[in-house]
Symmetry: C2
Subunit: 385 residues, 2 copies
Amino acid sequence: MPKRGFPPAEFRARITHLQAAMAQAGESALLLTSQADIFYTTGFLTRFWESPARPWFVIVPASGEPIAVIPSIGADLMGKTWITNIRTWDAPMPGDDGLSLLAETLADTVPETGTIGLPMGLETHLRMPLADYLQLTQTLAPRIFVDATNTVQRTREIKSEAEITKIRNACAVADRTFARIHEFAAEGRTHAEVFRDFQRFLLEEGADWVSYTAGGAGQGGYGDVISPATDQRLMAGDILMLDTGAVLDGYFCDFDRNFAITHADDAAKRAYDQLYSATDHVLATLRPGHKASDVHAMFVASLTSQGATPGGGRLGHGLGITLTEWPSFTPHDQTDLRAGMVLTLEPGVEIAPGLFQVHEENIALRENGPELLSSRAAASLPILR
Amino acid sequence: MPKRGFPPAEFRARITHLQAAMAQAGESALLLTSQADIFYTTGFLTRFWESPARPWFVIVPASGEPIAVIPSIGADLMGKTWITNIRTWDAPMPGDDGLSLLAETLADTVPETGTIGLPMGLETHLRMPLADYLQLTQTLAPRIFVDATNTVQRTREIKSEAEITKIRNACAVADRTFARIHEFAAEGRTHAEVFRDFQRFLLEEGADWVSYTAGGAGQGGYGDVISPATDQRLMAGDILMLDTGAVLDGYFCDFDRNFAITHADDAAKRAYDQLYSATDHVLATLRPGHKASDVHAMFVASLTSQGATPGGGRLGHGLGITLTEWPSFTPHDQTDLRAGMVLTLEPGVEIAPGLFQVHEENIALRENGPELLSSRAAASLPILR
């Protein structure tokens, strides 16, 4: 079993990077409210975020260590992290659910002429009641809140070697599970049984928990990939796709695998080969200095040159503390791709109107190109007999 | 296997209730952004919310059916619900991630003199980028946004019989799993093994997925209940507590069970008896018309009369579409308890400083008092030999 957590030096390095970005953006402090941002800066790892009852806050000052302003129920666990400045209140508290404590802490940390950075942009949410935030902006005036999406995302998107190892370990859990596909997927089993067993096997293979599974199955391909499983049975000629975000020590994998049930038609096999080849093309071509939109273009070029119709939507994205992170491989995302990013390559082919096949691999982008974190999919469509 | 989903009449009734509350509050429309509120109004059920990449919107007009404004990747699944008015965009789209489509739809739905209700209060989050919301308020002026927490919470907190059945079914999954405790918890097994197997068995017993497990184990009791499991081994004299939010058809259970490993000291047995008795007291006493704070007082009175020190924090809460819902059984929460609410009774005892035992049951509040949805815990502390 790989060692859990990170040494304090990892968190100090993260904070140093954040504070450098904050200085450049002119932010006097960061206010973080999301599970991911708080885990990133503190190492505070719990499934308790599943309860929407309580807000949690971490303040990153311009210099020095972060300050946690949290419900007292979390004091014990936060006390086990590298964070030493922990302020608590008894949540939930109608009327003042930590707000005065947060305002006081921010007022102590940020001069009246200062600005408070808060992620407000694409792929961010404010995980506190909106009314409390609006009141906070009044209380803290003339301090102003500014959008710190860039500060946080440009920092978090470059993974340390320790983080890449965590994601590689999560990928290995899914690799081992997919290798056991014969134990739980076969003609006649219901989609619900297969999806449920997929989660059980992910746990058996070492996942701490399984935050995400998705999939699809149908004759020659599948329609949508976000629906829950039904009691429909796998049939001969179905293409089964299983996709997972299994979590190990706070880090996700996110990749899928396709399988044919007893046999596959030529169109499904051809789609598989086209997707495999398009992924090979990107694996060979992608380098730091490309933009997110370039990866989309690489996939589209490879697929169309093979006579395939590329699937719509994004063809991959960032990966790490959440199932999906920015950037998105769409024609519209101009994010610079840099060494140290962990990304998914997720091309899709539309075999016929509404009938898709989607492949996915996880990579770390290195100076000399992609390093696979998932074990490369089989070179031709696996048949489950 | 119980039937999945709800008939359209269920959703129509929900919308009728919401629209009545909106009329009373003077809201011309509701803007809903959270997984729970969108599932409640539409039946749109997917684990895809795990990806923070895309916002999703549902508008409930003053009369008529809801309108979904969603990423195109969700069109197929939303099309299978009772919702017919579905507007989509290709997300994620930097610069305009559904915002102009949302603004246009709201402008069509709400007159310039109207107000748009949005949950902004305790236990709510805005699940869209804050910068987009702030821009939306400008675009839609002179329409104003108001806090619709009360509108949504007073409606959602009264469960239909169909909803209560769903929660009862989720509780039954955990009941069956706890009954198999001997198969996965024993002296010498690590906490991590037990927590992992607990999830596997929940899946075996029919959970669609396991969004939450927590627990604690230690000599005579445990310290905190939100930490992930460690590789520490269960020892003779440990009290093991396992708690779960397993999900079936979109509804949660949330209750725990305590077990002694080979034997228990008298203090642990006494705490168990006190908690059991305090829960009996509330089961016998609680009626519609009480306030949330009254339940806290009932627990405290029962526990102190038995010579126990009540645990801090809240002693129960609402339950349903999320692991925890309002209200909270604290001295501060004045929410009226009404028939049709589903609630957890969760008293704790502090056996010694930092050493706790916590019990939990799930109930539906009926006109004549609580109906247990979880099978009542064993009357005395179960010993695992």
